[in-house]
Symmetry: D2
Subunit: 328 residues, 4 copies
Amino acid sequence: MPKTIKKIGVLTSGGDAPGMNAAIRSVVRTCAYHKIECVGVYRGYEGLMEGDFKSMNARSVKDIINKGGTILKSARSKEFRTVEGRKQAYNHIKNANIDALVLIGGDGTFTGGMIFNQEFDFPVIGIPGTIDNDIYGTSHTLGFDTALNTVVEAIDKIRDTASSHNRLFFIEVMGRDAGHIALNVGVGAGAEEILIPEEDMGLDRLVESLRRSRESGKTSSIVIVAEGDKIGKSVFELKDYVDENMEGYDVRVSVLGHMQRGGAPSCFDRVLASRMGVKAVESLLAGKTNYMVGLINGEIELTPLDSAIKGKSKINLELLRVSEIMST
Amino acid sequence: MPKTIKKIGVLTSGGDAPGMNAAIRSVVRTCAYHKIECVGVYRGYEGLMEGDFKSMNARSVKDIINKGGTILKSARSKEFRTVEGRKQAYNHIKNANIDALVLIGGDGTFTGGMIFNQEFDFPVIGIPGTIDNDIYGTSHTLGFDTALNTVVEAIDKIRDTASSHNRLFFIEVMGRDAGHIALNVGVGAGAEEILIPEEDMGLDRLVESLRRSRESGKTSSIVIVAEGDKIGKSVFELKDYVDENMEGYDVRVSVLGHMQRGGAPSCFDRVLASRMGVKAVESLLAGKTNYMVGLINGEIELTPLDSAIKGKSKINLELLRVSEIMST
Amino acid sequence: MPKTIKKIGVLTSGGDAPGMNAAIRSVVRTCAYHKIECVGVYRGYEGLMEGDFKSMNARSVKDIINKGGTILKSARSKEFRTVEGRKQAYNHIKNANIDALVLIGGDGTFTGGMIFNQEFDFPVIGIPGTIDNDIYGTSHTLGFDTALNTVVEAIDKIRDTASSHNRLFFIEVMGRDAGHIALNVGVGAGAEEILIPEEDMGLDRLVESLRRSRESGKTSSIVIVAEGDKIGKSVFELKDYVDENMEGYDVRVSVLGHMQRGGAPSCFDRVLASRMGVKAVESLLAGKTNYMVGLINGEIELTPLDSAIKGKSKINLELLRVSEIMST
Amino acid sequence: MPKTIKKIGVLTSGGDAPGMNAAIRSVVRTCAYHKIECVGVYRGYEGLMEGDFKSMNARSVKDIINKGGTILKSARSKEFRTVEGRKQAYNHIKNANIDALVLIGGDGTFTGGMIFNQEFDFPVIGIPGTIDNDIYGTSHTLGFDTALNTVVEAIDKIRDTASSHNRLFFIEVMGRDAGHIALNVGVGAGAEEILIPEEDMGLDRLVESLRRSRESGKTSSIVIVAEGDKIGKSVFELKDYVDENMEGYDVRVSVLGHMQRGGAPSCFDRVLASRMGVKAVESLLAGKTNYMVGLINGEIELTPLDSAIKGKSKINLELLRVSEIMST
């Protein structure tokens, strides 16, 4: 029979994402609601291995629902990948009488958590927090919706200057392995083309598409390029290619960078984080372990961590077609 | 056998909502993509009855994806509710060789469209556009997501002043018949209480809840009130009630009003509008009529207009529970 | 000879304004820079009379430069207007070894400070913080620039819906005694008319102006009304007047309310607050007292508190003319 | 005696800036107000040489006050630097019966205008529009205030992720020859250091400053680098330098790029643009020529184009000191 859970720890790990603070707040307050103690772990698995803990009550998470980043800080830990590191973490957890952990992060975070669960039979539940939306078992990860709005607003601004000068812009957005951001902001910002890791459009088709776009009367164009686009060219290389192979284009480049990760979360991300935090804590209290909470058809559901890690989050290829039609 | 569709009209009707322009753009460009003519109808059914039409091509909808409101303007029409009005509209449509209509709006818009379809056997497809999200057959109406962000940002600002002065604010948000906005922004902005049309919390419970909230150490509070809240008191009456019946509160009131309807659409609403426009036009081209397009479990699906009108869009009552837990 | 200043207290009083936190941060860090102690006083003069103090160092004001409201909280105090109240405050100050005070607020705050200075020969310097910009001795008060942007963004949203429905909107903005906000947002948002406390335009001229505006081809109109407009009618009464006396208008009303006070300060307000805080502390250290710091022709200058209180901040009437020309 | 002015042309040239559209609107409406004809010239001097003109009335500039970029488009023209190019432009102007020009742009724009004025004795007035604020004769150029807010909001977002991961960020902002943007956003975003073209801080002092900042307990840092900083290292080179010479820093780089140029103008820029447009047109009507309008001590004043071009806009070095104190 599982031990009754009286104290829950919560940490954020991996790249930070808007909504992480809202999720921390939800975990802490759901614990308070159920009269359970709650402990914040600083700097992800790093803090777990160092016992960098802080007792938290409902008032500790005041005024953070609308703050980007994570008040618990985040880190990527190499040491936690070793048996010694995890053993050390376990000792700190035991000393602090923590009975279960809520892990907010992405694939790497969940892999660490799953191994830890297996080694020490320690209850863990994951909350998917990453702007990349590349996690199986949830239609939306925390921070994805906010990042889309941040990026679309930045591109709207670039569009002003692109239109004023009749320019072609290659804009790099985040997404090393997944095209979710690129696809959605491409449609949302009215980009002429979208280059993503999942599909190889080929340079020739890109060139052809730009030519057609110009013939249709467009004087400026925006091409969205995911970091890990399949063509395998950076925005700078794409600019060079067009400069050398196409006449009459005034090409510019913009790499949006880290601003995509920050900012106040959207209402959607705040609500999602609040719901996920409640489900994570109440699942632990109900004896569940080794699951990830996720949004599936509008409901918060559990997916085994195992499947969440191994599964492949699919991009919505319909959006490529919509983008093509919209570029008419 | 249905007539081949060569020209499609598009109109916006009822209250305007962010994303309507993105939907118009999508309808126009999808027509262009399929080499179909497209005609914009001004001021909803009013313009339909007056033949206030404008031919539109792909370039006509340039730079509108990120604009609030509707370039086709909107109106509420009494005359279209009469047989004569609709007959007049039909004549203009025939003269202009319009073969089908895409109707962007809410319940009233769809009711008019369905009757028109029945009377003249004229193909129509609806796109749900309203910030209220009160339409059956879609998890999200156009403008709802944007309105949530607009409202949450406004409440974040009010929270600054509420916290600085240890005040209690009653904030009225839109929603005469539906609590979708109130529920989501209540959770998203961390409100202490949420009053909606669907549930009668009762004044006593509200008072009790405010007392508990204060005892837990909170110095400021925000209560979200939907226009049509079940308690049946306006924010001004609620303020008076607290002033008279509770000690030590410095109560203020804010009615957010029409700013909730405007603004650049969120990325979500732009993508949704783009997808819905494609589906609406392609459904008409495939011989479908009398349907509404909607988002169901992440996919764009068709629902008979009939069901969309009669069905009841349900609020997510789980959010009331989440809100209660978060107010710990 | 004045006593050497070793410890400075800082408080915020009156209505909160964006930039107050940035000013607190600047006062605290300037103290740290000059190796002076700094004490935060909570809830303005209320906290001064209760000895509600907190020692602050450079790290205490981390991450607040971009937060609306005031972390020291604010209040309006009746008791401080009595000799007993001020005596009580003085005792707390002496016990805490505070040698001087920086007072962030408006006219009322400065009046209290000046009397306190006279009664106890206690060094004080004021920093003008109010969104209303109604203080003599500074071209800009803290929060004014931010409020202008907040209001203009809200009106841009309302404009979307006004244009879509061909409506006339009366929009009430803050400004009980001063038209600074109304004048600037009126020009900035392209309003057709601006009603302010300083000028009586008269109902007839308003009606005439609306008629002319319509004849010039405009289909929607926005009229900005300061809370204390000279015509003496609320936006609701103005609506009733137009409804009764003018044909063919669809009139709506919006009262923007408290959201105008909050939000992250603009860059201008952050820079201004930082400069003012430095000047306030360094002026005290240089033996100055009973002054207000202010922005005059781009430089931070001192004005005797006396003059700041008695002087009348003038509105820029050129803007009324610009507005009239822009409404062509 | 100067010819009576009956028709005025307006163009935007050089890099686009928020507020240019508001200035165009103001020029057009001031012409309408004074019953003067107005002609928009497309793509700056390029369009002038090609006769790419469009007649504009008060309704032509509807709904553009809040749009970034320039509806008249902008370009940089080499040909206008030749006598032939200018002769060609003059012929088009004569054919179109244009009597005077309003030139919205920066130094290059004004130099072209001054030569044109000298060669053909043709009346011109300049309006300073550039985000860089590097023009003598005005405390603020159009777009500067908006750019500050855009940049500060982006840095606020980066700060979220910097704090969450205890990182050091080098952020490049616009300003090849002038540090106005860097200085103001550095203070406004609470940067630890600011590198500008006007002052050589030296690498050693930067390193020293970062060390001190860390010792004071700061866990994350942001350094603002103007494009043309005096140290002469790009943000990428600075990152490499720290990686090689300092221990324990997790350094990241962000180049904000073209998004700094776009977006809806701030209220300040809209009001400034409106005032400048009125002054430009009315100065021409009063027989003035070869001047630039500018904001001097809060008033719109004229400066000879000559002085505006030769003069050096000074940065406010007080801000460097404020920044140093704030970094305590």
